[in-house]
């Protein structure tokens, strides 16, 4: 990936608008709904006045009609804090022939596009790269040069031979997440151990919006290799001499079970699981993810 976005991609995602389904906390007015009622153009409700209420919020017209003190409430629109987490372990370096890019490049492109959308609508956006630990980060901000900083980090080369430790890495990353907002993880989830998504569950409990882009290569899905081959573990020393044709059926069953398990565990953790085969166009995947959220299809 280069430090500049493809212009065609930029044009396509410019039309996308991300609207959080759930209310997020924000210090700035924005397009996102806030649980705090206050100054806004969108009327929410009436309620009886209680001592301590802001007198500016008294509905004088209602008082004139009913002789009762009634407070007029509005929905407050706030800015979003988005935290994008990129898995840069060695397994993400695989790129099959059908996709033409590695999983890491694909994930970086996807997150960059999302950052562009968020920053474009004034949301504070930050990026963290991780493998077995938190590698680097760009804190969430909404400054004009934030996109450039994000793209530079996403395009940074990974640490060679880095193994995945999702539990530790995500745990370290979420400690840096502040107020309620959006947390997006792009990973192949190959190290999805029993406690790997526990940090995400905690975020969900704190009211964060969670989105998991499950990056996977077509080769990993279908094992299309022909003839006896020697398969090696990119994050270990293991190797296996085998005719993949003989194992294809069992392998596919196993990978199908893995995807199902990932989806169920993400859902259990309160995250939306979006499967992202690397031969699918980034904008299509991103649009699907954002539209689905817009109509309330996730979570």
């Amino acid at each position: 990936m280069t430090a500049e976005l493809d212009q065609e991609l930029v044009q396509r995602i410019a039309t996308l608008r991300f609207r959080a389904e759930r209310a997020v906390e924000g210090l700035r007015s924005g397009v996102h709904r806030s649980p705090h009622r206050g100054a806004s153009v969108i009327f929410a409700e009436h309620r009886h006045y209680r001592p301590g209420d802001d007198l500016r919020l008294l509905d004088w017209r209602a008082y004139a009609r009913s002789d009762r003190h009634t407070i007029k409430r509005f929905e407050q629109e706030t800015h979003l804090r988005a935290h994008l987490l990129l898995d840069t372990s060695a397994s993400m370096g695989y790129g099959g022939e059908s996709a033409g890019v590695s999983k890491r490049e694909y994930a970086a492109t996807l997150l960059a596009a999302l950052a562009y959308v968020l920053l474009g609508q004034g949301d504070a956006t930050g990026v963290q790269t991780l493998d077995s630990e938190l590698v680097a980060q760009v804190p969430a901000r909404a400054r004009p040069d934030q996109l450039e900083a994000i793209l530079q980090l996403l395009a940074a080369p990974p640490r060679p031979g880095a193994r995945t430790d999702l539990a530790a890495a995500v745990g370290a990353a979420v400690e840096r997440v502040g107020r309620r907002g959006l947390v997006v993880l792009a990973s192949d989830l190959l190290d999805l151990g029993p406690g790997a998504l526990q940090p995400l569950s905690r975020l969900r409990a704190l009211g964060h919006q969670l989105l998991v882009f499950h990056i996977i290569d077509r080769d990993e899905l279908e094992l299309p290799f022909q003839g006896p081959s020697r398969f090696v573990d990119p994050e270990g020393d293991g190797s296996l001499d085998v005719d993949p044709e003989a194992l294809r059926q069992v392998y596919r069953q196993r990978i199908g079970a893995f995807l199902t398990d990932c989806r169920e565990r993400c859902t259990a953790a309160g995250a939306r699981h979006v499967l992202c085969p690397t031969d699918h166009p980034v904008q299509q995947v991103l649009a699907g993810a954002l539209r689905g959220r817009a109509v309330g299809a996730w979570a």
Partner: protein
């Protein structure tokens, strides 16, 4: 075992080829860093169980195929010592002794079975193209398989030899048969193998073994018997003259070696055990007399005497006997002038005469009835009806007598005061052998035996010529005269009528018309008249069984069905006998007495008067002592070939290679199908 081309074993190195290829292929594999390696590893572990075994089997099969191919090229062989012959193409004849002594058990197997197994082994030793003939040596010797180059037929011929035998041994004749088969054989190598126990009784003369150009091998089957053999040497049943209704059995037992202790004899038949008696043997011999009930007419006339002993040969431990003579002529005497307890009785002399069984002759079992009772009497079990001074029978009785004669019965008419010429001519016109002209009286004639009398009287002087006859019937005959008076007129005449015969005596059976009953010739004359009328010929002492083991059972007149009960209890029924006079019975399966039951239409089965017969084992076969074998070349005793031949194992190895190739192909297909399913 050896190898024709040992260098070909270097080809075994090729067996390592699959392993080498496997290693090379592994080295050239392209590496693929697959992130989902863990899942691939899991899948591999899951599949490894079945696929790993298949792959290993395939590898082993391929290694084995190459090794077997190298082994086949080395041309291995085994050195085999032939059990018969020298391995060259041969014309052979195998004589198998199937006599009764070969039924002796050795290691729980009959010697005959061992001989048959040895014969099969010998046949298997012959190379293809050889000729083989199979002969069985039980008397009479039989050619089981004429000389043939179809060796596979020999197996069937050997198998067809019955495991049970009641035959004597005739090795000389069997050898002649074998040598005659080899005399015109095609191959210069000719061999004759004789398999027998070579017991003392086997007829084998050294002269039989002289055969130019034929190698004779005598092979003894079985070792000498460990126990002496007991057998019933003789068994006779005679009506006991001292006890009415009893029959005495004279039993003689002998052993072919020193037998110890008393032995038990049992007499039994279909009614159960008739008697049991212990017998002490002295010098290997013993005699016993047992009294049993004489069976009533129409009941089981047979008995089996059994030695209860665990000796060398069981087959000769029992013998059958007929408690009533099977050859006896069943005669019914019709008394036309009864005077009970008086010498004036018409049958006073005749009945006393028939009770005296002549030596070696046919006995007569006589019963008497009055003339009035004859029409009601069952004639189906009767051989001869004797009308002694009986008035002319009624028309109905005349028809019945005619039917009786036509179906094979005998009718003897003796003259007397009550025989009226005119009435007889009228009532028995179609039966009488001569026309009765009148009664002659106050004459004094003797009898004049001539050549025609030979049918009635034994050769030699009979004393009849000195008899004096005062009364007689004058007969006009057109032939058939068997005896004449001194004036050349017929005294006895006879005629055939279909299957039966009618005989007429011109004078009386008592002493009213002649002094014949007082003459010594009376007895043979009366016997001759009865035998001639019944058409009985002296039967063979060994019963109706011929040399081929087939019993020819006479069918009683009027019988429609027949049942033969063998000593083992097996029943063989024969229906729809029609007009048959005898029945060929081939199911002779055991020594002993065979019952024959017959039934006329509408009547139940009854023991036929002359049906029962006895099949006893040949006495000579009971002597199981082994004789010294005559010398025949260098291998006389063992008779076994000593040639060593090399038998190539290559065909078997190539067969194994083919089997391995097929297995490899099937396994490969299975593996491919499994891969496609994956």
């Amino acid at each position: 075992m050896g190898l024709e081309t040992p260098l070909a074993l270097l080809g075994l190195l090729a067996a390592g080829l699959p392993l080498l290829l496997h290693r090379i292929r592994r080295r050239d594999l392209r590496p693929i860093a697959l992130p989902t390696f863990a899942f691939l590893l899991e899948a591999d572990r899951k599949k490894r169980r079945s696929r790993g075994i298949t792959d290993l089997l395939l590898l082993m099969l391929r290694v084995a195929m190459l090794a077997v191919a190298a082994g086949a090229l080395a041309a291995p062989y085994v050195a085999a010592r032939l059990s018969f012959g020298d391995g060259s193409i041969t014309s052979a004849a195998i004589v198998i002794d199937d006599s009764m002594s070969m039924m002796r058990l050795q290691d729980d197997k009959p010697l005959l079975a061992l001989a048959k197994a040895r014969a099969r082994e010998a046949v298997a030793s012959l190379p293809q193209g050889s000729e083989i003939a199979i002969i069985s040596a039980g008397e009479p010797p039989r050619l089981r398989l004429p000389r043939s180059d179809r060796l596979e037929h020999a197996e069937a011929a050997i198998e067809a030899i019955d495991d049970r035998s009641l035959r004597a041994t005739d090795l000389d004749a069997a050898l002649r048969l074998g040598l005659s088969q080899l005399s015109a054989s095609r191959h210069p190598s000719r061999r004759l193998l004789v398999l027998s126990d070579f017991a003392e009784h086997a007829r084998l003369s050294p002269a039989s073994l002289d055969a130019d150009g034929i190698e004779v091998s005598l092979e003894r089957i079985g070792s000498p018997p460990a126990r002496p053999n007991l057998h019933i040497r003789s068994l006779r049943a005679l009506p006991d003259p001292t006890t009415l209704g009893k029959t005495s059995l004279a039993i003689e037992v002998a052993a072919d070696g020193p037998a110890k202790g008393p032995i038990a004899l049992t007499v039994e038949n279909s009614r159960g055990q008739l008697a049991r008696q212990n017998l002490e043997l002295v010098d290997g011999q013993g005699r016993a007399t047992v009294l049993v009930e004489t069976p009533a007419r129409g009941t089981d006339p047979t008995a089996t005497v059994r030695i209860d002993s665990d000796d060398a040969l069981e087959a000769d431990n029992s013998a059958g006997v007929l408690l009533t003579s099977g050859d006896a002529i069943e005669a019914i005497f019709v008394n036309g002038d009864p005077h009970p307890a008086s010498d004036r009785d018409e049958l006073h002399y005749a009945l006393r005469a028939v009770r005296q069984a002549p030596d070696g002759g046919t006995p007569v079992r006589a019963q008497t009835v009055d003339a009035d009772a004859l029409p009601k009497h069952d004639l189906s079990q009767v051989d001869v009806v004797v009308l002694a001074n009986v008035p002319a029978p009624s028309t109905a009785l005349g028809r019945r007598l005619r039917s009786f004669v036509e179906s094979g019965g005998g009718l003897l008419i003796a003259a007397g005061d009550r025989v009226r010429a005119r009435a007889y001519n009228a009532a028995l016109k179609d039966l009488l052998p001569c026309h009765v002209r009148a009664r002659g009286q106050n004459e004094d004639l003797g009898l004049l035996p001539d050549e025609a009398s030979a049918a009635l009287l034994p050769a030699g002087p009979s004393g009849l010529s000195r008899s004096r006859t005062s009364g007689r019937l004058l007969l006009d005959c057109d032939g058939g005269e068997l005896l004449r008076f001194s004036d050349r007129t017929p005294a006895v005449a006879s005629r055939e009528l279909q299957r039966g015969r009618v005989t007429m005596l011109a004078t009386s059976l008592d002493a009213d018309w002649s002094d014949l009953p007082l003459r010594p010739g009376y007895l043979p004359l009366l016997w001759g008249l009865l035998r001639h009328s019944s058409q009985r010929r002296p039967t063979r002492p060994d019963g109706p069984v011929d040399a081929q083991g087939v019993a020819h059972i006479p069918v009683p007149p009027g019988a429609r069905s027949l049942e033969v009960v063998s000593p083992s209890g097996a029943r063989h029924r024969f229906d729809d006998l029609g007009e048959r006079q005898s029945l060929a019975f081939e199911a002779i399966d055991a020594p002993g007495a065979y019952r024959v039951l017959s039934a006329s239409p509408g009547a139940p089965l009854r023991d036929a008067a002359r049906g029962a017969f006895v099949v006893n084992p040949p006495k000579s076969e009971s002597d199981l002592r082994q004789k010294q074998l005559p010398a025949v070349g260098d291998d006389a005793e063992s008779g076994t070939g000593s040639a060593v031949v090399r038998r190539s194992l290559s065909p078997y190895i190539f067969l194994a290679f083919a089997a391995l190739a097929v297995a490899e192909g099937l396994l490969r297909l299975r593996r491919r199908a499994s891969t496609k399913r994956s």
